[in-house]
């Protein structure tokens, strides 16, 4: 089967998402040993942003229920650990909220153990905690999860290596260019200094942006500590029309 090629219709007026130079960790980060055989060696080829890149899946609402944002009430009993509220806004780099976008999270339990067969850390599983959550941002780009604070855990990257406590976050935004998977950390963690994943981000100020802020306003008396964490995705400029310099 071949596709008939219709005649070209001239340049399209599309939004353009400036590239995030220097923000993300380099794929080739040898301190993080898992990257050694997996990071590509060739430099990436610049891809002009077209329709496939400036669009993206606008989905999630149909696969998320309100209960998915509370990781503490999905089992027969309550999970062990420090109950926390994690909330914040999803914005683009122009400061505009990103409403109606799917956020997926996963994390270890309070003992630092994942509910996953590959995790062999000798810490207890919690039958009341699976560690997965989902929600959609509201009209102002806000999200809110109720969970328990994950524990730190050892890993075999280097001698006596330990991961700082973190929650994995996955976001879609509105365009393929905005897709982001990252990790949220907790303030004051003594393990940051020796963590090659956290420190793979070249700019120390950018690293700090992965650390949530304790917030007494979010904290609920006699119930749960509150953390705020805003997430900033790439933003778009109005049009790429005749932006030949970017191609």
């Amino acid at each position: 089967m071949t596709t008939e090629m219709p005649a070209a219709a001239g340049p399209l007026a599309l939004p353009f998402y400036p590239r995030p130079d220097g923000v993300h960790p380099p794929l080739d980060s040898p301190e993080y040993r898992s990257s050694l055989l997996r990071a590509p060696k060739w430099p990436p080829v610049l891809l002009p942003q077209g329709l496939t890149e400036i669009t993206g899946p606008l989905l999630g609402a149909e696969r998320v229920t309100a209960a998915d944002a509370d990781l503490t009430t999905r089992h027969a009993g309550e999970p062990l650990g420090e109950r926390i509220i994690v909330t914040g806004r999803v914005l683009d780099s122009g400061g505009r909220p990103v409403p109606g976008t799917l956020i997926e999270i996963w994390q270890a339990n309070a003992s630092g153990r994942y509910a996953h067969p590959v995790d062999d850390h000798p810490a207890p599983l919690d039958p009341n905690f699976d560690g997965a959550g989902r929600c959609m941002t509201d009209s102002s780009g806000r999200y809110r999860f109720i969970t328990i604070k994950p524990g730190a855990y050892p890993w075999k990257n280097h001698l006596n290596g330990w991961r700082p406590a973190h929650i994995h976050f996955s976001l879609f935004g509105r365009a393929f260019t905005q897709r982001l998977v990252t990790q949220m950390y907790f303030p004051g963690d003594p393990l940051f200094r020796q963590d090659p994943i956290f420190n793979s981000i070249p700019d120390p100020r950018a690293r700090e942006r992965l650390i949530a802020r304790f917030d007494l306003e979010v904290t609920q008396p006699d119930w749960a500590l509150g953390y705020q964490w805003d997430i900033v995705l790439r933003g778009s400029e109005a049009t790429a029309f005749e932006r030949e310099d970017e191609h």
């Binding site: 219709a9 914005l91 780099s93 996953h116 942006r209």
Partner: protein
């Protein structure tokens, strides 16, 4: 106390990427993730392959995500200026790799569509790969081996001068099985897949 104020981040302060780690299977797979379209849909195709590391070993803890146009080349998205509206077509697929590094996506063949400079782009699927060891996703594209004419005219594909490199972006039709394509993703080393900076 200043550390309790809610201040919006300054413009441009992007959130950096981090790896999905080895336990993405807790949070990311969807039961219907690999089924972008049903097997009875017109133009139904299956794309399968393996994700391999720098020694050719399978990567058993990766996630492959796909995003593509509908068969008419449109996107059900407000930023498609041609007004493509087929919300019934999800366009998005997601499949974790198995112990052998294998993934499979069932979908329909995307249509050709205008590229950013107005020249026609050959039918293609954008791919994100996430895995332990990847501190950011890597992005590649699937083109179709039985679209030789469209591929030859595609501005992105034809900009890659090395034929061996270009070939890493083309899914090969499995001769005896119509609608079935093979697309392996080599993260590193011999035959390394072309990855894009989007």
């Amino acid at each position: 106390m200043s550390d309790q104020q809610t201040a919006p981040p300054a413009a441009g302060q992007l959130t950096p990427s981090q790896t999905v780690g080895p336990f993405l299977a807790i949070g990311l797979p969807w039961p219907d993730g690999p089924q972008v379209a049903g097997p009875d849909a017109e133009g139904a195709i299956t794309i399968s392959g393996r994700v391999l590391d720098g020694t050719g070993e399978p990567v058993p803890d990766a996630l492959v995500e796909t995003w593509q146009a509908a068969p008419d080349g449109s996107f059900a998205h407000p930023d498609d200026p041609r007004g493509g509206e087929d919300p019934a077509f999800r366009g998005f697929g997601r499949c974790p790799t198995d112990a052998g590094g294998r993934y499979q996506i069932s979908t329909v063949r995307p249509g050709a569509l205008p590229g950013p400079d107005g020249r026609m782009a050959a039918p293609h699927i954008d791919v994100s790969v996430f895995a332990r060891g990847l501190l950011d996703r890597v992005v590649t594209r699937i083109y179709f081996g039985d679209e030789a004419e469209a591929n030859a005219a595609d501005p992105v594909l034809s900009s890659i001068s090395d034929e061996g490199r270009r070939r890493t972006l083309v899914a090969t039709a499995e001769g005896d099985r119509p609608g079935r394509f093979r697309f392996d993703i080599r993260l590193q080393g011999s035959g390394e897949t072309v990855f894009f900076d989007v």
